[in-house]
């Protein structure tokens, strides 16, 4: 199986560890990820804030490139996923002129949703060598991945289950909580840090109250945002994992190394060692 991979800008910088774990996981699952050749930024929040035309044409370049490759796109970043879908929908409405040919022949998949399909979950379960027994986590989806539902196609947008299914497949104990899709405020962090911190602090507090030992996310911005809130040790310690990091750990338990988690601010290594999941 082959898929077009659209990493997005974050995966080249702050979320480099996410990119590495994704490549390892897909390698184990025998799925070839072909990076879209010379991809460009989707424009994120800035483009649709300042110019609707840019919000449509910027992602279109990548959609067109994937159509030439003839492969469905899989996007690890919630915001990129949202923007690509938005652009595709707007191009079909023919509101703006786009300099590239986009016929809408290819699908844009959110990575968690693609991997949470029953056949993929089966494949994942077959490859788990060391289930992450005893690790209690909550899954946090954020907003851009599930909303607005008419665009993203999530029918369970109030209680999405894709990350839950994947974390369960990795052997972790997934706890139920009510803040799965409450916004973490990352988009406003520069400019109004006060607002962002009030939103993020509440999420972390609720996760702790639920009894979670870690948070599982799929969005690079959510990860950095939740992790950065815990930079002073006094505020407690709740590691924030990308779901692919947990899958990778379950796949290659013997080779697991603390080096994989070097980029985390709330260091997950002591927790994993205490659970006997890491040497």
């Amino acid at each position: 199986m082959k898929l077009a991979f659209y990493p997005g800008c974050s995966l080249e910088g702050m979320a480099n560890d996410y990119a590495r774990s994704i490549l390892a996981v897909f390698n184990h699952l025998d799925i070839t990820l072909v990076e879209i050749d010379d991809w460009s930024c989707c424009g994120a929040t800035a483009a649709h804030s300042l110019s609707e035309k840019m919000a449509v044409v910027l992602p279109a370049r990548n959609l067109a490139a994937a159509e030439i490759m003839g492969l469905d796109i899989v996007s690890p970043c919630a915001n990129c996923f949202n923007r690509l879908l938005f652009s595709k929908a707007m191009i079909q409405k023919k509101i703006f002129d786009v300099p590239w040919t986009v016929t809408g022949s290819i699908q844009v998949h959110d990575m968690t949703r693609f991997l949470a399909r029953p056949d993929m979950v089966e494949r994942i379960e077959a490859r788990v060598r060391k289930p992450l027994k005893g690790l209690k986590v909550v899954c946090y989806y954020g907003c851009q991945m599930v909303r607005p539902p008419r665009l993203t196609g999530f029918t369970d947008y109030e209680n999405p289950m894709t990350l839950d299914r994947l974390a369960t497949a990795a052997g972790a104990k997934v706890l139920d909580w009510s803040y799965k899709t409450t916004c973490c405020g990352a988009s406003i962090g520069i400019g109004r840090r006060d607002i962002q911190e009030s939103l993020t602090a509440r999420l972390l507090e609720k996760a702790r109250q639920t009894g979670a030992e870690a948070v599982v996310v799929s969005c690079p911005l959510c990860q950095v945002n939740l992790d950065l809130m815990q930079r002073d040790k006094a505020s407690g310690h709740l590691p924030v994992f990308y779901f692919t990091e947990l899958l990778r750990l379950a796949f290659e338990a013997e080779n697991g190394s603390a080096e994989w988690f070097r980029m985390h601010i709330a260091d997950p290594v002591p927790l994993l060692r205490a659970k006997d999941l890491l040497l």
């Binding site: 800008c9 974050s10 080249e12 910088g13 702050m14 480099n16 010379d38 991809w39 460009s40 930024c41 424009g43 994120a44 929040t45 800035a46 483009a47 649709h48 804030s49 300042l50 110019s51 609707e52 035309k53 840019m54 044409v57 910027l58 370049r61 509101i95 703006f96 002129d97 300099p99 907003c143 851009q144 909303r147 607005p148 539902p149 947008y157 409450t182 916004c183 405020g185 988009s187 406003i188 520069i190 400019g191 109004r192 840090r193 607002i195 939103l199 950095v224 950065l228 930079r231 070097r262 980029m263 985390h264 601010i265």
Partner: protein, 212 residues
């Protein structure tokens, strides 16, 4: 749009910034029609149930609450909207749009107002946020992709930003954050440029005359 006697008293008791009383009908429903046309949002359908405001995680920080934004558009109060903090504070988390019983695209309306404000001569209420979005697009134009370290540096070099950050003490926090990120290897100093950067710059050249 027809107005009832109640609407009229409410509107007339409200003073515009110039101190002059505003008459209803000086804009008619032009603004409403224009907004509906440009966003595809069903704005006239709003019956003020306030579901959007109750769903909004940041309505506390807004001067014009989401349901009021929709009402203001119906009334044609364009300037009040473009001057508000609301249009910049919105996270576009889409809670409002998702839960609206009448399928009014509230978030899209607010975002469209934001882009109208950016193109107008009205000074944005949240200057840093407005400048940040612009800086992001500038960086995208320069490299085709966005590098976090360069984005922050470019933002700080914009006129007035550094001074404001120094005054508010925000600069100190940001240096701390930057150092934490640097120590963890999360900052990449060398930006990567798209090979087809020319194609992207052409987009910027043609961005005016938005609608085809």
């Amino acid at each position: 749009m027809e107005t009832t006697a109640k609407d009229r008293t409410e509107i007339e008791s409200r003073k515009v910034s110039s101190g002059k009383r505003r008459l209803i009908g000086d804009r008619g429903s032009h603004f409403l029609k224009r907004m509906e046309g440009e966003t595809g949002a069903n704005i006239a359908a709003c019956y003020q149930c306030e579901r959007c405001t109750n769903a909004c995680p940041v309505s506390f920080y807004m001067d014009v609450k989401p349901h009021q934004v929709i009402r203001f558009v119906q009334l044609g109060w364009r300037e009040e909207l473009l001057r508000s903090a609301t249009i910049w504070v919105c996270l576009s988390c889409e809670m409002c749009t998702t839960y609206c019983p009448n399928e009014v695209a509230v978030a899209e309306t607010i975002l469209h107002l934001r882009s109208l404000a950016a193109q107008s001569t009205i000074a944005p209420r949240e200057k840093q946020l407005a400048v940040f979005h612009q800086t992001f697009l500038d960086e995208l134009q320069r490299f085709g992709r966005v590098n976090e370290a360069w984005l922050m540096a470019a933002l700080n070099l914009k006129p007035g930003i550094l001074k404001e950050k120094m005054r508010s003490g925000q600069l100190k926090t940001e240096i701390e954050l930057g150092l934490t990120l640097w120590r963890k290897g999360k900052l990449k100093l060398l930006p990567k440029r798209c090979e087809a950067i020319k194609e992207i710059r052409d987009l910027y050249r043609n961005r005016q005359g938005d609608r085809s």
